[in-house]
């Protein structure tokens, strides 16, 4: 029977072996800087309302979520933005795109956005990658996470690989501001 430590080492070794060859099958991992560059707007806000609509030909469902904007790091979004996501439910039919997590009213997020193709609302850059949920940790720090590994972390003037899925909100904001002002 392997010990917990040996298992940890084994799993970490497997991870290290795979890492140089890894790429996402559904998404290409985008750095914060790429997200910031490709976004027209980067905002922080709170989801206050969601609804779902069919396209006129009733083939595609989209979920729209209205956010109260508390801070803008890029662009001039106004006091509210509407974010469009593929999938949703009309109460009878459900449509989903794996990798898309719909917002829940009340949750806070830092979002990298660009206009949707039909200009009806904004969409998240990089599928789910530009959607950072924001929450306070038990130690009182604000933490943001987009669930995507391979994000680089800028600290003390150098860039380091960040293999986790969480980042302090203040650090995230700093990196976005730096990317936007380049």
């Amino acid at each position: 029977m392997r010990t917990g430590i040996s298992r940890l080492l084994f799993v970490t070794a497997v991870c290290c072996l795979l890492a140089p060859f890894g790429h996402a099958t559904t998404v290409r991992a985008m750095s914060l800087e790429e997200l910031a560059t490709q976004a027209t707007h980067v905002i922080q806000g709170k989801a206050v309302e969601s609804w779902t609509e069919w396209t006129p030909d009733r083939t595609m469902l989209y979920t729209y979520t209205r956010f109260d904007v508390s801070k803008s790091l890029k662009g001039t979004p106004g006091r509210q933005v509407v974010v469009r996501q593929m999938g949703g439910t009309d109460g009878r039919i459900t449509q989903k795109v794996f990798g898309v997590r719909h917002f829940i009213t009340g949750e806070q997020a830092l979002l990298f956005l660009r206009p949707s193709s039909n200009r009806k609302g904004m969409v998240v850059v990089g599928l789910m990658q530009g959607n950072f949920r924001v929450a306070k940790s038990r130690s009182g720090e604000w933490i943001a996470t987009n669930g995507v590994p391979g994000v680089t972390l800028f600290r003390n003037g150098s860039t380091n690989e960040f293999n986790g899925t969480v980042i302090k909100l203040a650090a995230l904001e700093a990196r976005v501001k730096q990317a936007v002002t380049k």
């Binding site: 559904t26 595609m60 590994p149």
Partner: protein, 308 residues
């Protein structure tokens, strides 16, 4: 069957994250084991259709239709399942969503393709009970694709993964499973976790001869069940139960809101059972449907485990 005893210690969330962030989540049985919300096709065969048009961004030494057909055949050949698929006539349609076409498309547009961060998506339409009505697989037209022996993203690797979604499977944290969301450049054969997920959804063949491992994950501090804990089982033998075409991987599940889990489709053998937080590299965002199905925004990761 031998199982490890696991005691759970509740820790502050940040501490747990710091402790475990480098450890990959390993495996789980995709979709809602034992839940009504599991996505599944109601009958077989499923007919899929290819729009063979490309924007000049597909090259390689194999026929595109053959590559897609081979990818479907990989799943259809999985042991202990009842699925079958049929290739319908090619179409020129670019309409996606709920139109009963089950389209595979390289020239279809999507919100998610306006930036280059997304390679491919699967759109699945279901009734509220999880019955699948339609599924489409869209490959990003702005990416360069390879049918084999050419530069670009390997179509068969991506297609094999997306067809897992087409059949109703969600992402898996097993690093060697096809349904792991971050795959190597080439991975076109199924792992145990893929087979277990598929056979539990569409049981057939010798599925009734497979084993089930179940249990409950609780916090040591208050005995409360943990939602979204990642439980996986590892065979301790070197036996290749499904033959050489199916790669040996752990098989797992994610716990329900009350902390219970059920892992079906397990080949008879001796197993170790392990639990861990689902906090990277596969995390809540990669299995977004799971917490959503229970009216929650995320799984619980503020715990650690201790083996005795």
């Amino acid at each position: 069957m031998k199982a490890r005893t696991l005691a759970l210690l509740a820790l502050p969330a940040l501490a747990a994250i710091l402790l475990f962030h480098a450890v990959p989540a390993r495996s789980y049985l995709p979709n809602y084991s034992g839940q009504a919300a599991r996505d599944r096709w109601p009958s077989f065969p499923i007919t899929w259709r290819l729009n063979p048009n490309t924007g000049g961004n597909v090259s390689g030494n194999r026929n595109l239709g053959t590559v897609i057909q081979t990818s479907f055949a990989t799943w259809a050949a999985a042991p202990n399942t009842s699925i079958s698929v049929v290739r319908g006539g090619d179409v020129t349609s670019t309409s996606t969503g709920f139109n009963n076409e089950n389209l595979i498309c390289f020239v279809c547009t999507s919100d998610s393709f306006d930036d280059d961060g997304t390679l491919a998506i699967t759109i699945i339409t279901t009734q509220n009970d999880g019955t699948v009505l339609d599924a489409d697989i869209l490959f990003n037209p702005s990416r360069t694709w390879s049918t084999g022996g050419a530069g670009g993203v390997d179509i068969q690797t991506i297609a094999t993964h997306e067809i897992g979604h087409f059949l109703g499977l969600d992402h898996s944290p097993v690093v060697r499973a096809v349904m792991y969301p971050f795959a190597p450049p080439s991975l076109v054969t199924l792992g145990y976790d893929d087979v277990a997920g598929l056979s539990a959804t569409y049981p057939g063949g010798s599925f009734t001869g497979m084993a089930t491992i179940s249990g409950t994950i609780r916090r040591q501090s208050n005995n409360a069940g943990i939602f979204g804990a990642h439980v996986f089982v590892d065979s301790v033998s070197s036996t290749l139960h499904f033959g050489g075409n199916i790669r040996k991987t752990p098989i797992g599940a994610i716990t329900r809101p009350d902390g219970t889990y059920t892992i079906q489709g397990v080949p008879p053998d001796s197993y170790t059972v392990t639990v861990e937080p689902l906090n990277g590299p596969v995390s809540n965002e990669n299995i977004s449907d799971y917490p959503e199905a229970f009216g929650r925004t995320s799984v619980e990761t503020n715990f650690t485990t201790r083996q005795h």
